[in-house]
Amino acid sequence: MRDRPVIYGGLAVFLAVITLPFWRGIESGVTTKGPELARPATARQCVASTEFMKSSHMLLLMEMRDQAVRSGDPWYVGAGHGTYTISLTGTCLEQCHGSKTEFCDRCHDYAGVAPGCWSCHLDAGHSTGSLTAMRSSR
């Protein structure tokens, strides 16, 4: 029974090592709660319901893209029966959501997705001087 300290010591080290991710999580303050999104400054009504936008905004964006580019029809009739010009930078960002970093990036970074939209579409309010910086940061 002389090796009891060794056994308990080893057990303690083992437990510490396998629970390490939990400790580190607590330390860095990570929660399972998603990121807080900045609310649109002025607009109260999106082109579709929040639930739909949360789950399917990428499909809607692609549908709008095809409509504007392939059919040459830049008008989208939203759920609230408002008509919107299809423009990622001009309408989605500038009119409603304001900033790519405050809105799009927060969720995309959290979810670990990097959509290619911004390699061509411009972030509203960014001058070209920062274009290069914007791209290299992604």
Partner: protein
Amino acid sequence: MNLSRKAFLRVSCFSLLGAAMRKTAAAFGSTFSRKVQWGMAVDIRKCARRPECTACIDVCDQAHNVPRVPDKRHEVRWIWKDTPEHAFEGEDFRYSSIAKLPVMLMCNHCDDPPCVRVCPTQATWKREDGIVAMDWHRCIGCRYCMAACPYESRSFNWVDPRPYIKTANPEFPTRTKGVVEKCTFCVERISQGREPACVEACPEKALIFGNVMDANSEIRRMLSSRDHVTRKPELGTGPNVFYLL
């Protein structure tokens, strides 16, 4: 199944004939049934009144975020200036009065565009109104269209264009490395009922834009009253940019 030799031959002959007729009808139908075909007339002499003027190039580059890459090999251009000798290859300009005048060149938005035929992803296609449009979302950068275009109207983004755009226009996207681009006759303005940016910007009104299918349009009146040429008409592409002599 019991099919006699004669019946078999008859059926195959009729099927072949039917297929051929559909192809033929489609080929002719697209050209003749078009109600709108946007076109441009360039008045070479009016344009040459200001030999140093680059208003159309500047406004186009600004409107569409066309990068100004200093390296000629990586140049991106939508509308540019060249000599008549280059523009109208094969013509003899030795004693011509326009030999030294600059000529504005751009995509010809051909009736039968070879770039559209070769594009493997349909990233470039001919719209109902005759504009050879581009969908940069689809372009995979294979450059088949560049090889097919006899007018060198298409440019490839060999490098990231963004560092070469001085002040970006947020209304229009930039392109990314590995994508082909060209003049689109300002589709984004046409959908709002406006003329292309270069036409609006020209201080001499040397660019005339309009529907060449409409016999009463200004461009058609211009073309019927003045002598004009197109680039490389012998290729059968049917260019819709006309040069008034």
